[in-house]
């Protein structure tokens, strides 16, 4: 790693950037400002932690901006086993999270268009198209993304990542580690576990070679512990949605989940979620709900519609509806118990083979059933996501089963998590309005 790059990193990140972001956050905490368009009549003021979320995400991308040449850089899938890379000192970038950020900032149509012009079909996942478009054009709303020295794709979320990362590997001419996680139909078999563990072992030597250092198992254990702590905290946070009124809606959860996805294994993530939990508990004590007049409580299935978060939160909030739980945010918390720092590789294998998308559709149905009971829900919105086929498959049956078993309405909403071209405002509005009338009937 180069001396000049390291000097640039220290100057821009440690000496100027981070202190500035810290100062900015402190100012925002000291003089909280409610965005002028915030619907105070229907939603409670934004969570205080928002300033810290902004700081954490900005810092993450700031570090990325100057990481090349100073630290090894890895691009990984959101469900990738990152703990080994973290322990080896990699700066880890998650293209899907970057894609989500592009969605929120309204940059997807332009970036995806670049990929489509290069011949990638609109039928490919919009995260992949956004990422490939960003790679080809060098454009991103976060300024600059560091080039990867290593790629790691884990098939526990979908098969698209396999082809997507092959494109990246060819483009950047860097090694690609592929962790193939066999699908779990009923329970995790020993041979599947052994197969994943073996791949993890093999990945270590490649990662060590790229990082230029040996893996310190003590450090790895520490990172797993931090991952576990943050995941447990996140699980606690989303479980607070059980309170009535719920102190946090899933729309807030979607925004504040960035650290658990892209900063697992870091101390600051643990502090961040501990702070968020404290704020939620304070709000519970004050009886303050995310939606001011909470009358109905819903479940959200599948990824968010990143470019319509505000609209959905406000529309539902206007009718006193709070979406209090989601299978998506739950997916980032439910694996906490599987992490075990005393058995690092085995527990990593078990954890990363078990995400909701790598399990049968019945598992998701059971998760939703549990949530309907635990969170005392009045209805379900299932986002049928054009981009995420593994998440959307089986939704019609899942929806019908929920209606049959609980007698609550469930709405299938067709959209795409990142591409607004696959979203029809009027049609969604019409379905939502009818659904709200059903809830009130």
């Amino acid at each position: 790693m180069g001396m000049t790059a390291s000097l640039k990193y220290y100057w821009n990140v440690k000496v100027t950037g981070q202190p500035f972001l810290y100062w900015q956050r402190r100012q925002a905490e000291r003089y909280p400002r409610i965005p002028s368009r915030w619907r105070m009549d229907i939603l409670s003021p934004p969570l205080r932690i928002g300033a810290r979320t902004k700081e954490l995400i900005s810092r993450h991308y700031l570090e990325g901006r100057y990481a090349s040449g100073h630290r090894p850089v890895a691009w990984v899938t959101s469900g990738g086993p990152v703990e080994i890379l973290q322990a080896l000192g990699f700066y880890v970038l998650y293209p899907e999270n970057h894609g989500a950020l592009c969605g929120v900032r309204g940059a997807v149509v332009e970036l995806s268009g670049m990929a489509e012009n290069a011949g990638y079909s609109t039928d490919i996942c919009s995260y992949a198209r956004t990422d490939i478009g960003s790679v080809l054009s060098g454009k991103t709303p976060v300024g600059h993304l560091p080039k990867p020295d290593l790629l790691l794709a884990c098939t526990n979320i979908c098969q698209t990542v396999l082809y997507w990362y092959r494109v990246l590997a060819r483009h950047f001419e860097v090694p690609l580690i592929l962790i193939d996680t066999p699908f779990v139909y009923t329970k995790v078999s020993d041979h599947a576990l052994g197969y994943v563990k073996k791949q993890l072992e093999n990945s270590i030597s490649i990662s060590e070679q790229v990082a230029g250092c040996r893996l310190d198992y003590r450090h790895l254990k520490q990172i797993i512990r931090l991952s576990k702590d943050a995941t447990e905290l996140w699980q606690e946070i989303i479980s607070r949605g059980r309170h009535q009124p719920a102190p946090i809606s899933v729309f807030d959860q979607f925004i504040h989940m960035a650290p658990i996805v892209e900063m697992r294994g870091k101390k600051e993530t643990v502090y961040f979620y501990a702070e968020l939990l404290r704020e939620l508990d304070e709000n519970i004590a004050k009886g303050k709900g995310a939606v001011r007049n909470e009358r109905k409580r819903l479940l959200w299935d599948n990824l968010p519609i990143w470019y319509r978060l505000r609209y959905l939160a406000e529309y539902l909030g206007e009718h006193g509806i709070c979406v209090v739980s989601s299978t998506y945010t739950n997916a980032w918390g439910e694996l906490a118990s599987l992490m075990n720092s005393e058995k690092p590789l085995e527990s990593i294998a078990r954890t990363y083979i078990s995400p909701i998308l790598n399990q049968g559709t019945k598992y998701k149905l059971d998760t939703m059933k549990r949530m309907v009971k635990e969170f005392q829900l009045d209805g379900v919105i299932l986002h049928s996501d054009r981009s995420c086929k593994p998440y959307s498959i089986g939704q019609i049956d899942q929806r019908n089963k929920l209606i049959q078993e609980f007698g609550i309405p469930a709405l299938l909403l067709e959209a795409d998590h990142d591409d607004p071209r696959a979203y029809a405002d009027e049609q969604v509005a019409s379905r939502l309005a009818s659904f709200v009338e059903m809830l009130d009937d």
Partner: protein, 257 residues
């Protein structure tokens, strides 16, 4: 004519207004192609009615349909799903599975024994499975929309239209016509293609008989026949299928369940 309440349904192709008396009987109705200047058109509807009954003072108006938010004169806006359900239930007196094929979208609503919406499904943002699908195809074959159902029923054979996409179906029709295939079997195939899209929606919510139909496209006799063919269910149609949304809205205005 004693009018107690009004309902208006501003759809994507037509605008409908219904007046009901104090017991919920439809006593007046009017239907026109929808104008881009909806507000003016609603004014002209009200003016027409005013000519007949002098004053509309105190008569509540409820709006439904895609353009419901444009009706400033309405005391309340309610979605088409809820209004169609209310209208059909009140007219037929029982629930079931309602198929409403509209100009822009199609809906399937499961109506409970008490007239409540138990479940619904709507087509995605693609126009296949809607009246627009037939309209476009009819235009391509130079056949008036009002006649296409009769022409289709006169077919002695049927061809399969494999595309459910309106645009693809159009190119499929062009190639069939170029091969010298007659218009009648193509039209019958088109009806089948549309109905298959709709019955797929019925399956997604689960068919709770009896099967009910509403919407402008129902005036097309081939639709009814093909739906019965495909579902093997007898179909029930209210007296004014195209006005059910506006009628339901009027019943809401009246406060009648």
């Amino acid at each position: 004519m004693k009018i107690a309440a009004l309902g208006i349904d501003v759809g994507s192709t037509t605008i409908k207004m219904v007046a009901v008396n104090s017991v919920g009987e439809m006593v007046w109705n009017h239907l026109e192609q929808v104008d881009p200047r909806v507000e003016k058109q609603v004014d002209s509807f009200l003016e027409k009615l005013r000519n007949e009954i002098k004053s509309l003072e105190g008569i509540p108006l409820v709006a439904t349909g895609y353009g419901r938010n444009l009706v400033q004169q309405a005391v309340k806006n309610i979605t088409e799903i809820t209004c169609h359900t209310r209208g059909v239930y009140h007219q037929l007196g029982h629930g079931g599975t309602l198929i409403d094929i509209g100009g822009q979208d199609s809906k399937v609503v499961v109506i409970g024994a008490e007239g409540q919406v138990l479940d619904f499904a709507m087509n995605d943002k693609c126009a296949a499975g809607t009246g627009r699908f037939l309209e476009n195809s009819a235009a391509r074959m130079h056949i008036p929309v009002v006649e296409m159902g009769f022409v289709a029923l006169s077919a002695t054979e049927e061809v399969t239209i494999s595309s459910t996409c309106t645009v693809f179906a159009e190119s499929e029709i062009i190639s069939m016509l170029a091969q010298g295939i007659e218009v009648e079997p193509i039209l019958m195939g088109l009806h089948r293609s549309l109905v298959k899209r709709v019955t797929a929606m019925v399956r997604s919510v689960g068919l709770a008989p009896p099967l009910l139909l509403s919407g402008g496209v129902v005036k097309n006799p081939a639709i009814r026949k093909v739906i019965e063919d495909e579902t093997k269910e007898k179909v029930f149609i209210p007296e004014h299928p195209q006005l059910m949304g506006a009628y339901g809205a009027a019943l809401f205005a009246l406060g009648i369940k």
